[in-house]
Structure formats: C-alpha cells, structure tokens
Amino acid sequence: MDFGLIAQYLANGILLGTMYALVAVGFTLFFGVLDVIKFSHGDVLMLGTFIGFTAWMGLAAIGVTNPWVQLLGVLICSLGGTALIGAAIAKWLVLPLKKAPQLNTLLITLMLGTAIREAVRLFYPNGSNPKAFPALLPDAAVELGSFSLRADSVILVLAGLGLIGVLSLVINRTRLGLAIRAVAQDEETARIMGINYTLVVLATFAIGSGVAAFAGIMNGLYYNEINFGMGLILGLIGFSAAIIGGLGNLYGAILGGFLFAGLQVIGAALLPFASAYKDVFAFAVVIALMAWKPTGLIPERSSDRV
C-alpha cells in the first residue's frame, strides 16, 4: 500500500472521527446531567440536517447565491432550531420522567426518534428519497501523488475540531460549564449552591443537540446527500463511541468517536472484501472491547462526570 492511499484513509478517518465525536459528546452530556440515555439523539440530528437543507432551499429561492452566506444561514437555522428542539424534548419528555425508572426515558426517546424519522419520511416533500445536499464549500484539491487533499474536507475537520475546542472551553471555563459539571457531580448540592437545575438541564440538551446538528451538516456537506435514516446509524455510532469512552466523560466520548472512525477505516483498508463490511468490522470490535472492558476504556468513577 502506498503512502498516498494511507494518507487518504487517515484524512478520511480524522473527518469521520470528528463527526462521531460531535455526536458522542451529546450522549455523554445528557447522561452527565440527568443519568439518561436519549435515544432520539440521532434522529434529532437528522431533523436538524433537514432544517438546514430546507433553509438552504429557502435561501436559494429568495435569490441568495453566495455559498458562504448560504452556509451561514444553514448553520444558524440548523443549530439554532435543533438546540430549541433538544431543550423542548428535555422540558416536556425527559424531565417529567425524572422520577420514573430510567427504562421509561429510554423507551420514550426511542419512540420519539422513530416518530421523528417516520414523520420526515412521510411528511417532508418526497421525504422517503435521499436529498442532494449542496456543496457549499470550495472543493479545490491539492494533489500529493495519489493523495488528494480537498479544501472542503480540511475546512470541515478544522471547524469540527474548533467546535469541540469551544465546547471544552464552555464546560471547563465558563459559569454555565461550572454549573453543568456541578449538576453532573451532585445534583442536589448543585441546587443548594443556588444553581437553577432545570435551566442547566435545558441548556445542556440545547448544546448537545446543536452540536449534533453540526455533525449532521458536516455529514451532508461531506457526502453531498442526506436521507431520513441517516440519524439511525450516526446515533448508534455516537452512542457506541460514548460508551467505549466511558459514558459521562467528555474526553472519553471524543476519544471513542475517533476510535470508532479508526476502526471503520482499518476495516475498509485491510479487509480483503469490499469496504461495505467496514461497519460490521467496527461494531464487532466494539462488541469485543465491551466484553473486555465492560465499563468503557476510561471507566467512570461515580465522581468522574463531564
């Protein structure tokens, strides 16, 4: 295998890893503040991507043609809308079930995800067919032998890593982040400190969902195609990544995202048969990892949240 091909796999892996990490941190944040698994996360991501796609069609329809302006509009509508949806789900579906068994939350969000997915399939115009997502980023490429580095991939990776950096700063350096970490470590004592618990939970769900929408837009821009089922696999991968990283740990989730992408790329590169088996390979390794380290690679101590 030549250098160019290896570099190509590596670049692909970094992009996918960034995307998965952005989905996984949501699972970890939600679990941190509320001890719940929100199974609708992937489908909320899909919905956010469709909001972005619709915003793009709207902008194009009113004659906005500059791709950067279009991209900005897409991101604002998608991230903002998805953040609101995330907060609404927390307020009306997840928080009311706080005293119920965790299985109930799991079930209700699983059903919600299915409802969102089916609603987009049935009610979005021609929703059961894939949509061609516009290429809004410059696709100029630098050729290095057999390796071609495309500008859009570089921008996507930098933006995604930048968002992860911003998220980490918010969690570790801001007053909101202090409140989120306090709630994650000891909810009741956090309340005694004067923290508005409900507000912190809503903000956390808004942030986690907005970040996932960014991953959805990334996915659309990278593959130039979106469909109503895209959240299913992305949600499952994000969930797996969060679990491998040790649920509740922000950096574990990021690590898990890159690890999963690495497995996919290795599967695609090294398996003798077609790369269609890369997911089978990646999930098989995850299953093996979980059998070996049942609590994740960075095991969560009861105190080690967010």
Binding site: E188, T189, A190, R305
Partner: protein, 235 residues
C-alpha cells in the same frame, strides 16, 4: 438581620424522617440549634426550608415573607446558604471551584475574589491547597471547604446540618468556634446537631425534636439541664 419562622410544618422525606406540625423561630443574629437523634426529622426540616422537600402543609417565612415550596435556587437568592450534612464536596473539582460554586449567584468578580481571600485567610490550609481536587482531601479539610463555600454567597442566614458528623474531636471543637465567629459577624445561624453538649455551649436558643415533634425548647443555658433533652435521646 434576618430570621426564619416556621409554622405548623408537616413534611416527610425517606419514610423514617417525618415532621408532625412543627413550629419554631430562628431569631435574627443568633445561633438557634435543633437537637435530636437520627430520624427525628432534622434533615427533613432543613430540606423543607431549602425547597428540596416541599412540605405537605405549614408555612416557612423568611423575614416575614412566605418562601414555602419555592424552588431551591430562589430560596438561595433570598439570602439563605447551607452547609449540608456530610459536607457534600464536588469531588472532581478543585478547592477554588468548590468555593466559587458557593458564590454561584454572585456575578461581581471582584466581590467573589474578595470573599475567596477572606476564606483563605480564615483557613490558610485551603489557600495552600486551592488547586487540589476536593475529593482527595481529608474529612477535616473538606469541612473547611464546606464552611467556606457556605460563606461565599454572603448569606444572611446559614443552615448548618450536623457539622461534627464524622470529624475528630479537635476539628469538632474548631468548627464550633468558627460557627460562633460566624454568628458574631452578624449572620443568623440555624444549627442542626446530635452533639448536645458542645452545641448548647455555643447556641443562644435551642429546640429538641423527637419522633417528628418538638419536645422541648428554651434558652440554650436552660436546656443543658433539661430532662426532656435527655429523654429525646435515650427515652
């Protein structure tokens, strides 16, 4: 200076810790103590004041205003702070972050810094360990963080729940001295304790709770020799 008045409170937390029709006064500028054995209802009373366990009936008045059933962050905003039972550190945060959380509702950075300096002056040991994770500290050091954290918000009223629990006699003595200092600074203190002798030595007024009912009350000096106090524990 602010006081708390509790009227006909009925509340329950954890089936074993129930309050039946409790009325009491936390007088401004004084140390009022509530004595009682485990399960007497002491924790439920603190939780009810903080809005963590809304009462079934009765009223909680702060400076004459009804705060019954208010959300906890709103109770804190009225000038109440608490040093919870078991100290309740945020274990994966540094000493400074724990103290910072005590002033969560304070937005004036200069004021926070000033109070932080005051806490570090009171507990030089914490100043040395300001960047240490609270979960890795000894019980006595955690007690210092917990007391400092309770003062960071600049409260008018401080609720202190079993500060001597699990501490060595030396730290207990030190803690009670600090609680007296806090009162002398003009902060109203409501002290919940099992340790009768040392509590009555610093308190101004006391109540005794047994089986969810008040069984005795009076100036701390009078309570020290009261038969009902002994009965509440051993009777």
């Amino acid at each position: 200076m602010a006081g708390i008045e509790i009227r006909g409170l009925r509340a329950a937390y954890d089936k074993a810790d129930v309050l039946h029709d409790v009325s009491l006064n936390v007088a401004p500028g004084q140390i009022t103590c509530l004595l009682g054995s485990n399960g007497a209802g002491k924790s439920t009373l603190i939780r009810a004041i903080l809005g963590l366990t809304p009462p079934h009936s009765g009223q909680i008045l702060l400076e004459g205003e009804d705060i019954t059933g208010l959300a906890t962050h709103k109770v804190i905003a009225r000038g109440i702070a608490a040093i919870p039972e078991g100290r309740r550190m945020f274990p994966k945060m540094t000493v400074t972050e724990n103290l910072r959380l005590g002033a969560f509702q304070v937005t004036d950075a200069a004021l926070i810094r000033q109070r932080l300096d005051t806490v570090f002056a009171t507990f030089p040991r914490l100043a040395e360990r300001r960047d240490q994770l609270a979960g890795t500290m000894s019980g006595g050091e955690q007690a210092m963080v917990s007391i400092g954290r309770g003062l960071m918000g600049g409260p008018k009223i401080l609720l202190i729940d079993e500060p001597s629990l699990g501490l060595s006699p030396l730290y207990v003595k030190e803690n009670f001295r600090i609680i007296k200092d806090i009162r002398d600074q003009g902060i109203t203190v409501f002290l919940v304790e099992q340790n009768v002798r040392q509590t009555l030595a610093i308190a101004d007024y006391g109540y005794v709770l047994s089986g969810g009912k008040l069984v005795a009350q009076g100036p701390a000096a009078d309570l020290a020799g009261d038969e009902a106090v002994r009965e509440a524990y051993f009777g």
